[in-house]
């Protein structure tokens, strides 16, 4: 089975984006997007687990019977998450303390088991790793976008505390965008996450509509399997 990498990329980053279209993994998306550094930290951790778990699941896809498929997948994902957690504890200790329970919770992020089931269990190692990487990237970018908007609206600053993730070189990266900003509490509190997320989804749908309106009308026969994984947007 040949895999179209271009299509995988478009799917992961836009058409079937895990954050904006599949609406998977909302809990960490809401919980850790209150600043850029938190968002980036968890985004990268999720991306790594997703890419590695897809590769690992693909590697063993012919060795396990359907009956024990899910427990084995979950075991792989949990082991990888634990490894990432240990590594973060060792190298980015303060960020590990801030992200807290959201790191072990990567195990339960439905995107990861979802991609293992939907893609990695049926495709070869390389394309599965790529699919995991690009889906993880799509998730991380949405997380980062929400993190940037919330930090900017909430505190008037950007990239505060980036040294927690990137080490001493990032110590002075804090960029005060608005001087004497009073802060906008709502953006940092949990409701802010939902509002920003909703606005992002609206923006994406708006862009899709504009693109669709410009194109000549095409009749597309819908794939029934597609319906299950799409939550927002128009089912094609």
């Amino acid at each position: 089975m040949s895999v179209n990498y271009r299509e995988l990329t478009i799917n992961g980053l836009w058409k079937n984006n895990p954050g904006l279209v599949q609406l998977l993994g909302l809990c960490p998306l809401m919980g850790t997007s209150n600043s850029t550094v938190n968002a980036l930290g968890l985004g990268i951790a999720t991306l790594l687990v997703l890419a590695c778990s897809n590769a690992a699941v693909s590697m063993i896809r012919n060795a396990v019977t359907p009956a024990i498929r899910l427990p084995v997948f979950v075991m792989i994902i949990a082991a990888l998450t634990t490894c990432i957690e240990l590594l973060m504890q060792a190298y980015t200790y303060q960020l590990y303390m801030i992200l807290g329970v959201f790191i072990p919770l990567i195990t339960t992020n439905c995107i990861i088991l979802g991609r293992a089931e939907a893609f990695a269990a049926k495709n070869n190692v390389l394309s599965s790793a790529y699919d995991g990487f690009i889906m993880g990237l799509g998730f991380a970018l949405v997380l980062l976008a929400i993190g940037i908007v919330r930090e900017l609206l909430g505190t008037g600053m950007l990239f505060a505390n980036m040294h927690l993730l990137l080490g001493p070189i990032a110590t002075n990266w804090t960029w005060v965008v608005f001087e004497n900003y009073q802060g906008f509490l709502l953006a940092i509190l949990p409701p802010g996450a939902f509002l920003v997320m909703g606005l992002l989804i609206a923006l994406k749908n708006h862009i899709d509509d504009r693109v669709l309106a410009r194109k000549p009308v095409e009749v597309v026969t819908s794939a029934a399997a597609d319906r299950r994984v799409r939550v927002t947007g128009v089912v094609e």
Partner: protein, 219 residues
């Protein structure tokens, strides 16, 4: 008939494969754990030392704070369990102690504090270890959010009367924040109690550490 025959075998095979995967994943986790254990310990110790060194000015002590600890458990400290306290010495003389205390009555739950007290009973500094206060309101007790926590430095039971350990709204000496009085007054009261604890046990605390460098239980 064939289904019944083949079932035990498939179950056995599945069990073996599942067990195999469990063993492999555990081995990988154990390997990474072994590889990172010393580094994690180091990072944890460094973060702890960093937090402690922020409280006491550099040069005011010359020992490794993590090597001179006491395990303290006293209702005045408000901790749920016994917590370590760190003793600072300068040229063998008691210089300061860093206590862990808990303010149980924050706006949303407990606020865990590190409180540095010099040997003569002045506050050297206070830091928040952990809290769940409202972002933007109560979280001004963090050093990153405001300078409020520095207002404790230099205060003592002698220069601040017992009834002045409150926020201004409650006729005390300490500022509250706009929109939040519960959080700062909880912290103020916890610091006050920690000072009272220190006042009552001052000599005992330092003496116990000088006689034995290993952590020991105080009554």
């Amino acid at each position: 008939m064939s289904v019944v025959d083949s079932m035990p075998r498939s179950i056995r095979k599945n069990a073996v494969v599942l067990g195999l995967f469990a063993a492999i994943t555990v081995a990988i986790v154990a390997l990474i754990q072994q590889g990172t254990a010393s580094r994690i310990e180091q990072a944890r110790e460094q973060a702890q030392l960093q937090a402690l060194s922020e409280i006491l000015p550099a040069g005011s002590y010359d020992n490794n704070l993590l090597e001179h600890t006491l395990i303290l458990d006293d209702p005045l400290l408000g901790n749920r369990a016994a917590e370590p306290a760190y003793l600072a010495f300068l040229a063998g003389e008691p210089a300061a102690i860093i206590l862990q205390a808990t303010a149980p009555d924050g706006y949303s739950g407990s606020i865990r504090l590190l409180i540095g007290i010099t040997a003569d009973g002045n506050l050297a500094g206070v830091r928040v270890l952990e809290h769940h206060e409202t972002p933007g309101l109560g979280d001004k007790i963090e050093t990153g959010k405001s300078d409020w926590i520095h207002s404790f430095t230099g205060k003592s039971l002698i220069n601040t009367d017992s009834d002045r350990w409150e926020v201004r709204k409650n006729r005390g000496d300490f500022d509250q924040f706009a929109g939040a009085t519960i959080t700062p007054s909880a912290v103020v009261r916890a610091v006050h109690k920690a000072l009272q604890f220190f006042d009552a046990h001052n000599e005992q605390l330092f003496a116990s550490a000088l006689s034995s460098p290993t952590p020991e239980e105080l009554p």
